[in-house]
Symmetry: C2
Subunit: 318 residues, 2 copies
């Protein structure tokens, strides 16, 4: 008879999901399962045995229920979501529909098949949106939701749905609101990996200049390994029904991060602004108040220069 806790990671082959699985593998007595949608990425073979990856489209109601029923997980780390923000006005319906449908399907499946399980639902600092005064920065968990694009609205809605199911059916739900995080395997739909991929091409002589969007925005960057560590701490010690920011507490301009990255590149780099990369509305300053997660014993371990080195080396290996 196994005393192992059954853990399900939705979106387990995605950027944060794959790093979370690496972190979970350092915890004993877990039977780790993950969902994947589409072709398994090459790196998946180093994460888990193939049979632990479940090919499930979480926007499919029956398939989601079937999976949860077959695993009866003790813990669900729910990371699966459409993550793009820059173009989410163009894909607004699809982003909203997918993110809300998969949220509802998972909550419904929990309610039916594992109502005692704990769910860590991964939101986003994008849910906060605009801050209206300096007093609202750094952003704590009581900051109002003022999302500025459909992706961000979908993250608010996912959280509100989780709370509604929790309130009506007694589900045990904890909410994470990660700020920007960086690391290998993040796609070039995000600014920093897009810079990294371009810088590596410049280093190889395959590209002349790095094309960038708005560099003046101030953001709060963490290493993805610190973020997924916070997820496991929240699953263990987070208070049910509560939301927790995950961020460094430090604000940096995107420009200063790009400058640090350029220092790591063996080539002269010049920068070109591409207005096509600008968003209709880019929030000027986003910095986390991380007091609440720190009170649970979390502390970021990785320096930004370590993180950026990892990112650059990842793109060099592609």
């Amino acid at each position: 008879m196994s005393n192992k806790r059954v853990v399900l990671v939705t979106g387990g082959t995605g950027f944060a999901g794959s790093h979370l699985i690496e972190e979970l593998k350092t915890i004993s007595n877990l039977e780790i399962h993950a969902t994947n949608y589409g072709e398994l990425p090459v790196y998946a073979q180093d994460l888990l045995p193939k049979e632990r990856f479940h090919q499930v489209d979480l926007t499919d109601f029956d398939a989601t229920a079937e999976l949860v029923k077959s695993l009866i997980p003790d813990e669900i780390y729910h990371l699966a979501a459409f993550a793009s923000t820059g173009d989410s006005f163009e894909n607004a319906s699809r982003v909203m529909q997918n993110n809300l449908t998969l949220q509802i399907n998972l909550l419904h499946a929990m309610r039916q098949h594992c109502s005692q399980a704990k769910l860590l639902s991964i939101g986003s600092a994008d849910a906060y949106g605009e801050s209206l005064s300096k007093e609202e920065i750094p952003i704590d968990e009581s900051h109002p939701f003022r999302p500025v694009n459909p992706y961000a609205v979908s993250k608010v809605s996912q959280e509100l749905l989780a709370r509604a199911y929790a309130r009506s059916y007694g589900l045990q739900i904890i909410l994470a609101r990660p700020f920007n995080h960086l690391g290998p395997r993040q796609t070039t739909a995000f600014a920093i990996p897009s810079f990294a991929a371009q810088l590596v091409k410049i280093e190889r002589g395959e590209q002349a200049v790095v094309e960038v969007g708005n560099l003046s925005a101030i953001r709060d960057f963490s290493d993805v390994r610190d973020v997924v560590k916070a997820y496991t701490i929240l699953m263990e010690k987070g208070k049910v029904g509560e939301a927790y920011n995950i961020g460094s507490g430090v604000g940096l301009t995107v420009k200063s991060v790009l400058d640090q990255m350029i220092e790591l590149i063996q080539a002269e780099v010049s920068i070109k602004h591409d207005a096509g990369k600008d968003r209709p509305l880019d929030i000027p300053v986003v910095i986390a108040n991380n007091r609440k997660i720190k009170q649970l014993g979390w502390q970021p371990k990785y320096s930004l220069s370590d993180t950026l080195t990892q990112v650059i080396n990842y793109w060099r290996a592609q």
Copy 2:
């Protein structure tokens, strides 16, 4: 050359929509159009000429854009939505998908074809959800969103989407948050018309007892004619970007409303509680702080007894 303002009412053949059209007809210099989805109800012929009803499924992106492009409305009263709440956990995906898709489609169409138009987006007091202390009642517009079912989440999301489009594309949007409203043509999916329909059957000897859900909830009831009057005031005088409660400011138990209705019935009535009509979570007290809309000159005109008489007579005529 016409100086008429072109007005589009989405959901114009629904409960509130049909009453709004009656109100708009009392205003001069309007060219009123409405959307309808499915068969035109019988009462539509008294509202507008047939050609002013546009058979459009607003969850259809192209059809919505086509309509807005052809009309180029000056004002849009956006009432179309799936309105059920009692069973919205069972229909969660469909309710969310429909309400968000039609919201996005309309906002996108405005952005493309009539970005100077004014939009009154109709939300719901359900968006507020739970109040956590007596200080939060009566509910003013700064009350946090704590929706307790998927329908309510969809109303929050519709408002947040409207705000996101307004913020990013400069659309002129005003937000209405009506509390409970009553009148002819409201469907029996809602408690009061369900009571009315049953009471009329009892009066006719066709039914023995009135079956009810939770009667202890305290709600804020308005006459639909007062509510749609508020919509026209908001379109004229509401501040762009602001949300406005529409409610009487008076809280009554559902039981006391039922008692008033029973007084209007020519028969002995006994009440039977049907647990199947209870919701997973019914918010105990919902009362509007209506200071903000009153400052625009709105004042409810109809008494509850007048409203209930209208409702009972409507069901007698069915």
